[in-house]
């Protein structure tokens, strides 16, 4: 036995490995992986388990987690509020992100093409991006103030042109749209920055070539600018879309999901199920569905990034 053992190559002692540096990468990465396991992966796995249980602590109904199989998921897909919130998510995530990206792209190009003065350009760029640095909650509060039904400045200004009584936050689609406006105000900077950066990296002589080739502005945009920025625009859209899964703060402060449950988005619904009804099992199921959705989006994003990068190399 011992002879066999001695003939095998022995794993180098830790000290040895340290001295020739092979452990260093693991020592560097280790703490981060450990922390992520403790504060993220671990809790998520626990919540995955909870999603298969019925657990309503703090309610008069249930006290301890009770395994119920896929009951919570069945509840979820048959739940009218959840389905409505997914539809809202589709509207907010679809139209809202499209709006942000389209507006951001137009602003970026207008800024790049039509503002020659550098100071002015940097100033506008800063103005358009500074709301991104605000807490979403604060941005939501600001827009709630603007949208106040009576005495709110938006309705006040509309009143001076004879348009009164717009209930900005008082219906499903207008409410979601109002939130979308606030969110666009805050986040248009992200697609703007990405597109602006992309446009700045395009070769100027290519545009000169297009002019020499006789291309109109529209053709230049359609055939040259847009195709080359398309990847970045998609990336910006995906980045914003991933945030839509997490959208909470503005909704919380601006409509609270109301009227009724009209403007609820899945995360907000998850919060209510989890922390208002203390239906932890159901909330866990809901958040896992959401989490998987956003990870799938991220994966698409990743794949897209790799093909884009692969394509240009």
């Amino acid at each position: 036995m011992s002879t066999i053992g001695e003939n095998l190559p022995r794993a180098p002692a830790i000290k040895e490995r340290l001295s020739n540096g092979r452990l260093i990468p693991y020592l560097l990465v280790g703490p981060t992986i450990l922390v992520v396991f403790l504060v993220t992966i671990g809790p998520l796995l626990w919540s995955l388990w909870l999603s298969f249980t019925r657990w309503k602590p703090g309610s008069i109904a249930f006290q301890n987690p009770e395994f119920t199989g896929v009951e919570n998921f069945v509840w979820l897909v048959t739940n009218e509020r959840f389905i409505a919130s997914v539809v809202n998510f589709a509207y907010y995530g679809g139209v809202g992100v499209l709006l942000q990206v389209a507006l951001g792209t137009l602003l970026a190009l207008a800024l790049y093409n039509h503002v020659e003065n550098r100071v002015l350009r940097v100033g506008l760029l800063t103005l358009f991006t500074v709301p991104m640095m605000y807490a979403p909650l604060v941005a939501g509060r600001i827009w709630q103030l603007l949208f106040l039904p009576g005495g709110g400045v938006v309705n006040g200004l509309l009143g001076t042109v004879g348009l009164t009584g717009v209930g900005w936050l008082n219906s499903r689609w207008l409410g979601l749209t109002s939130i979308m406006i606030a969110d666009t105000w805050q986040w248009v900077g992200l697609p703007l920055l990405i597109v602006y950066g992309g446009r700045a990296s395009l070769s100027e002589s290519m545009y000169e070539a297009a002019r020499v080739d006789g291309a109109s502005r529209w053709m230049t945009f359609r055939r040259i600018t847009f195709p080359q920025l398309r990847n970045l625009i998609v990336i910006a859209g995906l980045l914003r879309f991933m945030d839509a899964y997490k959208f909470f703060d503005k909704l919380f402060i601006m409509t609270g999901g109301g009227p009724g449950t009209a403007t609820e988005l899945p995360t907000y619904f998850a919060y209510l199920v989890g922390f208002q009804n203390f239906n932890i099992g159901q909330a866990a199921a809901l958040t896992w569905v959401l989490g998987l959705g956003s990870v799938v989006t991220l994966f698409l994003f990743w794949r897209y990034m790799s093909t884009v990068q692969g394509g240009t190399n």
Binding site: P57, G58, S59, I60, A61, L148, P149, G150, G151, N155, G159, T164, G165, V166, G167, W168, L169, N170, S171, R172, G175, T255, G256, G258, P259, G260, T261, A262, F275, Q276, N277, F278
Partner: protein, 545 residues
């Protein structure tokens, strides 16, 4: 401070002799007999009498800060709770209480208060609940709302207070003066007194006299509807007047407003529904909310929303106050303190507001049946998990705040949002207090000024009279365990109906459907039992037939 220590001398000895409150004999007497007697007396008191069954303490109508104290005994001496700091939480309205009256209580007893925690009003229950779940209750005094009392108390979160009540003199008199429904529906859980009231909510109808007295409006209304323009007495008349003012006033002024935000919007529906005889469940826990009368009531509320500012389905406490202050609405059914908020500043509605009975429905005999919601209602409770010392200190604090010596001024202060809950609070003396600054406080954080609420005694009296009328024709909110779940679904669908997303019928049918599920989920048997108690009491008070 020195003088009060001698006054409280008696109680101190009593407390020492009975470290855990009182003897068994006393306990049985006060708990068994007192509880029931108090209930009966309250009914009587509420209906106008001012009798006291036990009658063992001085003057029943007394409540002025100076002489009211003599009925209350300090447990030991003025430094009994020296070094004890109480941690408290409230919703926003009761926030300034501690800074207004805390110094006085500290002076009396040595107890002090921490900075406190104000929880967001729209999420008060869940914020509170999440803190209770996480482990120990991080507060010594918790502001409660009866809607959640059953939920919490089914988990025995709060300490029964009867033994502490018996530690002090004059408590029976104090308990007896608490207006009946508050005491019977909101303070008790399974026969225990688990909370003391700090607020007594009732809905009033508020209106702007300048509009109703305007000659041109009077004439125009007369010619349009063939009726006299007056503060409406019935709900159909209410909508007619609301419609008239919406159509015939300048931009931005509406006939009324509908409180649409969750969860309290259901109260505005019940204002209209209870007076049509609508109840939550029948004896077998079958939802009654979607009865034909219920649907008619909600249809009425949805119509009212047409004569209200935009977003009305989303408007909550602060927003509706704001609309009223800014003079954007001519009439508003609201909690009794709506007109108090205008005293905080120079608003359009300041000085131009009247109170009246909540409208009702005309009965076959020509009489009008009205039921105003007894909604929200703040109470103080003490977590059961506290050490005894803390509980005693905390009890002293909440008892003092609730006691007329302080609550007389708290309810008449425009910066508290607290409403009459004792019989004393409806007396002429109380009305006079509404015309004076609060003598128990200076200005401070959260109460920058100290104005009187009303300019004249007549105004104050009218305000309180309206409140008393409504109080006598009230209707209680759900309070049994699980109430918060019922109300959540209730509020969602009422809001949807007001926002036009569901027809009133659909909305109420949906509520009923959800409620059936909830009953099963929470346990049909225990729910039926709990609701029986509720409905029986409601019958005693004559709220249901």
């Amino acid at each position: 401070m020195p003088s009060s220590s001698t006054e409280y001398g008696q109680g101190e000895r009593e407390g020492e002799e009975l470290p855990h409150g009182m003897s068994r004999r006393q306990y049985v007497k006060y708990f068994g007999a007192g509880g029931l007697a108090a209930g009966l007396s309250s009914v009587a008191g509420c209906l106008g009498g001012n009798e006291s069954v036990t009658g063992d303490g001085g003057d029943g109508s007394g409540g002025s800060g100076d002489d009211g104290q003599k009925n209350i005994a300090n447990p030991r001496d003025d430094t009994a709770f020296e070094g004890t700091t109480l941690r408290w939480t409230t919703d926003n309205s009761a926030g300034p209480l501690y800074s207004m009256f805390g110094p006085k209580i500290s002076e009396e007893s040595g107890v002090s208060f921490n900075e406190g925690k104000v929880l967001p009003p729209d999420n008060y229950y869940s914020s509170l609940n999440s803190q209770f779940i996480g482990g120990e209750v991080p507060y010594d005094i918790v502001l409660l709302v009866p809607l959640y009392l059953g939920d919490f108390q089914s988990r025995d979160l709060f300490e029964p207070l009867d033994k502490y009540l018996n530690n002090y003199q004059g408590m029976q008199e104090y308990l007896d003066s608490i207006i009946g429904p508050y005491k019977e529906f909101y303070m008790n859980y399974n026969g225990d007194t688990v909370a003391l009231p700090i607020d007594g909510d009732i809905h009033n109808l508020f209106y702007r006299p300048s509009y109703f007295e305007d000659q041109q409006h009077k004439q125009q209304y007369q010619s349009e509807y063939g009726q006299e323009l007056r503060v409406p007495k019935t709900w159909p008349e209410f909508n007619q007047v609301a419609k008239y003012f919406t159509e015939n006033t300048e931009n931005g002024v509406y006939g009324t407003q509908v409180f649409g935000a969750r969860p309290w919007n259901f109260g505005w529906f019940m204002d209209r529904a209870a007076s049509r005889g609508v109840i939550y469940f029948d004896e077998n826990m079958e939802p009654q909310i979607n009865s034909e009368d219920g649907v008619r009531a909600l249809e009425h509320m949805v119509e009212s929303a047409k004569y209200a500012p935009p977003n009305t389905a989303q408007l909550g406490i602060e927003e509706t106050i704001n609309q009223w202050q800014q003079g954007n609405v001519v009439m508003s059914p609201w909690w009794i303190d709506l007109s108090e908020f205008t005293a905080r500043g120079d608003f359009a509605a300041t000085g131009d507001q009247g109170s009246a009975a909540i409208p009702g429905w005309e009965q076959d005999d020509g009489s009008i049946r009205r039921n105003a919601m007894i909604l929200y209602n703040r109470l103080f409770a003490i977590p059961a998990s506290l050490p005894e010392e803390k509980k005693r200190a905390a009890f002293y604090a909440i008892m003092r705040l609730s006691h007329p010596d302080i609550s007389m001024f708290a309810t008449a202060d425009p910066y508290t949002g607290l409403d009459p809950f004792l019989e004393e609070h409806y007396t002429d003396e109380a009305a006079r207090q509404y015309t004076k600054p609060n003598p128990l406080r200076e200005t401070g954080e959260g109460f920058p000024k100290n104005p009187p609420i009303f300019g004249s005694f007549e105004q104050a009296r009218q305000h309180l009279d309206a409140g008393q009328t409504n109080m006598e024709n009230g209707f209680p909110q759900p309070n049994w365990p699980g109430a918060s779940q019922y109300v959540e679904d209730f509020a969602i669908h009422v809001q949807r109906a007001v926002a036009g997303q569901e027809t009133p019928k659909q909305a109420l049918d949906n509520v009923a459907e959800k409620w059936r599920t909830t009953v099963d989920e929470l346990g049909r048997e225990s729910q039926t039992q709990a609701y029986q108690q509720f409905i029986e009491k409601a019958r005693e008070f004559g709220y249901v037939e």
